[in-house]
Subunit: 384 residues, 4 copies
């Protein structure tokens, strides 16, 4: 282990941004990482105000990520940031990540990874060339019970996987709140910032990643229906997909932003020949396992009967719930381990976090879904 | 009201058949109907044994439905059966129903209504020609909270319906139990008895009917993926569909018989512009209503705050659960009302039960799904 | 088995009474019992109207139970009623039951069994003297998953029982609806009809019976707090008890009729040295078993992994819920078996229904709770 | 606001201690507090190792709290610790807290506050004399939905409170793990360290505090049954209480450490004349409100329809669960606000955290329960 905390910088996440605060709380939860620098906003004033609120040294509060990368890279090791967390809108991920990677700084990056698949592939090249660590915050895979689910599949407890149902219903975009200036809604529904997809790009990709993380299955072909329910909106706010996985498993995957009263219950059901499992993000400490011939089981976080992989990411005893920030922190736990190894010059180990390859997969999924959604031949008409 | 109980006959439902006993318990629950005759099995011995167990007059236990129709029709009104319940496998529904209808006897018939759409349309003609009552036992619509759901939609509480997600997961056919002689499995997986579909025909059609009953929406086009997971089985045991409703709403509809550990949790979520609802058959006394701007509500059966339509089909106070047989009985409650009106020569009223038109819709749905499942053009390949 | 249906009479349960209709639906559910006679009300007019609605022979609709007992007893076997169901208010149970028992007619009786413990003991004597069957409808013990719970305890799956928590919260008496003429509320809050207790007598006794049925434990001493929250009401509407069982187990038992928004969720938790269980009447098809060192289990009705005792009382496949009326019917299933044995002159077998001894225990429980509630010495004051 | 982070010291919480890590994560979650000093263990070696793991300046890692208080108090403001968190076993809380308070250092202290009521009252005096802030970490009151519950009571939404049921079931002490050297179990079951009570002192006091926080009700008299189920254990491992509140409300309060399979589901139901509420710590983001005449409501954390008090303690959007550490952090949020005000010389404001008065109440509750449990006169015997 390093004899000091890892030093983290942040791009984005200024005052009023929800996800920046989550990244900071997650990163620092276990006392292994400290925030020391940031370019929190493209507005110099907002960036400085944010840095002040975070009690940062004003010299290390930057107004552009380029300046930050350059200045930080020039500082001596142990003083300069070890890694940067990128928490800006999609369209800026690629140039920012490229800049820091090329400056020799490890990167933690929000999802979806880039603006499009082309950038994603380019970024993958850069990650390989620079040899820096790149961690994509598909945070839902940080939940201990998701890790348990993955272990159940890997160790054959479910048998051969036949079917996956992954859902991410939300309701926050049911009205055109982007017209009221709501910041998140504004850029997520704007194709110049969000890319070719709103709903599938923002949250469908979480469902896809969750399914792939747990089952290891890769999508072969898919059939997508995109709908824009809010009139005048330029990107889809609802997406339903049928999926064929390589190897023969089938899937249903859907995401929605217009499902009234739904909040963030991303959930998954995985059906195998021996057993099936079910997990819901809104009650994340439980994992249901269903059998054909035995009583259902409710596995609960923190218990000794869970796999080592699930145990390793638990902080507190069973029955005391852990939740979103703790799961997010688990991504940082592994990021910190990988970055510390790199800083210390150790051999690269095995780390349990989403990588640049996951990011490429995610972007390929989004683009394929968009393409499929435009194909009209899939529909069969009911007889009159 | 009639001054006597209605007299019911039954075709099928002999010893060992599950659904026959359910029909009998449901029909007689409220003391308005009595079973007086039956052709319980094509085996004369089994039919007689069944009749004996049911304490029937041996003279009215028949060994063929044709004999039953003929003999009963010749008895005087008040002695002969007022209606027959048909609880045999799919492929026999049509000839049996036709026979009784033409003999002037009202019919209650299990679903799916017929072997194929052609028969369904023919049956509709016969029903119209004979003027007899025809009740299709899509029993899930008998649940009071399903009726409440329908009222919420009808009275505009949900606003315009945008999306419907209807599921019927089961796991009982995960192994090829049809090879062990299990009766239900044998005929349901046999195309000569079940028709062109197993899973969608048996239970997908319940999900479709439930969605249509609650929302009134009719499917315009659909896109279906059928899979036969059990090797050697001749019909699909899993079906996933994307759906476009007339008017612009979208849907996901799926049924499965290979989902390990799932029992009979047919369930539905309906999303509207103002609110959404969720109902699960395994906890049928509750209906969840979700709002964008208000707390979720849990509506519970039997309460005065429910609609008259939901109240009318409740037997006992709130908190004392009602369940499957009671919901089934509610179909018979309405059937009895309609048949009694006919027997008494009253004008035909409005009855809340699934009709021959629902049966035609159901068969059209099954055939369209089968057709769509055979179309290969719907899939878009993920990039390599 | 008898070659005919058993013939049932009913005392009470006229138009507007909830529990009479439940008894009739429950008794006739499996086609083994038919209602043939009744004294449905002390009002001759109401009794006749009720009999007409039930399509009974007017000659067998009585205006007093005494006339009914006398007349029926004089009919030949096979024509006269085999048993009577008593569904009147508490204070009349004893004289009615005595009359029928002495007339040689078996008795099914609603709970609490009598007006007081003295009557209960007297009734026990009469039952023994007459040799007639006496079945007390503590209906919650008819649920299959309650029977499974009992088996889990009996077969040692829970180890030694340490603690029992049994609750029956309701809210229907939060206002003084007895003043509005609500029939149930009127007699239940009237000490001349309900006896010395309202809440504990009506529903606390169900919780006590449920605990005793599942665990076999008998209360040794208890400590009760009764409260009458509705001003002017003459009996308690809320009762909380600490309990010491013979053998060292401890318990908490409470019932309430003033708990706003609670309906009928009688529930129980039983804690043993090896495992514990939890069951709720409002979701009766599930039984939760909790272990110290293994995942929780959800046992679901109708599955082959359940005990023979639970299986025997299931009518339909798993996932299709059974509920209140079916559980009630299970009491009648056993009653019918016992009465048929008696009618056929068979040896008395082992039957799984609540007996006159359970009734005596229940009345002793009520009277002890009332007595304890009046003792003031149990309270320790907090320091100032 | 302070222009720097508050500086925190810690007594206890060395390697292997669960609660120390929780306090540190909670305290630092929002970036307003940093850990700078500690006496983590009475073993000098362990304290140093812990300090090293936490990347602390070795000069500020102490081997006795006395040394820590003395040395830190002598440092200049802005360098010395602003407050200390005491996370040691019960019997040491009082001397440690006294020492820091007298050294002018604010105190955050784990519960139960002291070894006995006498110490608690003495501590209250010291807090008043020194004018320092004293925060007791009854952490469950930090949950936003508990704060919402409190607001529902305060604003009269529930009407007059009639009844409270508060439970804290655990199963971890079902075996005598104290004999295996398990550290927590060892001191909690040792009267020389835990005080006069194990189960009620450790967790019953949480249930009492939760009830008092939400309802404002104070216990007038109580009637307690303590049981030591594990043979040879010297303190009770299960406690059941009937409670009378000042003003006429009644209550049931129980805690258990021998309830197999229970983890940490501290929960509460509060019944009022207008409505009732229910909250469970294992699903802390939901609050159920039940009405007599309207559908139940599920209130979910983070929604705009909640009170300002509940909103103020939410970090992330609805549907993304918050849990134990976040709730704990909310106690520190208010502690930080109060301590910062004191450091800045501002007037003392209104803060929402448990105080020394709550600690005195808690100790009075424990001692009264112990006393009541020894009184034998409360039991009424069942008749033979």
């Amino acid at each position: 282990m390093l004899k000091r905390k890892l030093r983290m910088g942040m791009v984005g996440g200024g005052q009023g941004a929800f996800i920046g605060a989550v990244h900071r709380a997650a990163a620092t939860m276990d006392g292994k990482i400290e925030l020391v620098a940031g370019a929190f906003s493209s507005s110099s004033k907002k960036s400085k105000a944010s840095g002040k609120e975070l009690f940062l040294d004003p010299k290390r509060v930057y107004t552009s990520y380029e300046a930050m990368a350059k200045t930080e890279a020039a500082l001596p090791e142990g003083e300069r940031i070890d890694f940067v967390s990128i928490v800006t809108p999609n369209h800026t991920h690629f140039p920012i990540a490229r800049t820091f990677l090329k400056a020799g700084i490890h990167v933690v990056c929000d999802k979806p990874m880039t603006f499009n698949l082309k950038e994603a592939r380019e970024l993958r090249k850069i990650v390989r060339q620079t040899g820096r660590q790149f961690i994509l915050t598909h945070n839902y895979t940080g939940y201990p019970m998701v890790k348990e689910a993955r272990q159940l599949v890997r160790t054959g407890k479910l048998g051969t996987i036949l079917k996956v149902v992954a859902e991410y219903p939300q309701g926050w975009l049911i009205d055109r709140i982007e017209k009221t200036g709501q910041k998140q809604a504004s850029w997520r529904t704007d194709p110049s910032k969000a890319g070719a997809s709103c709903c599938i790009g923002d949250i469908g990709t979480h469902a896809e990643n969750l399914g792939r993380y747990i089952t290891g299955l890769e999508i072969d072909t898919l059939c997508a229906e995109f709908t824009t329910f809010a009139k005048g909106r330029r990107l889809e706010d609802d997406g339903n997909l049928l999926v064929r996985y390589k190897g023969g498993a089938k899937g249903i995957l859907y995401a929605s932003q217009i499902s009234a009263g739904e909040e963030n219950d991303v959930n998954i059901r995985v059906y195998g020949t021996k057993a099936s499992l079910e997990w819901h993000q809104e009650t994340p400490n439980e994992l249901v396992v269903k059998y054909s011939d035995r009583p259902r089981q409710i596995l609960k976080r923190g218990n000794p009967y869970l796999s080592a992989e699930a145990q390793r990411f638990s902080r507190i005893p069973p029955g005391h719930p852990e939740a979103f920030i703790e799961a997010f922190a688990n991504v940082y736990t592994e990021a910190a381990r990988a970055i510390a190894d790199a800083v210390e010059g150790k051999r690269r180990g095995k780390y349990d976090f989403p990588t640049v390859d996951d990011g490429v997969q995610g972007m390929a999924f989004i683009e394929t879904a968009v393409k499929s959604s435009r194909s009209a031949t899939k529909w069969t008409r009911m007889p009159r």
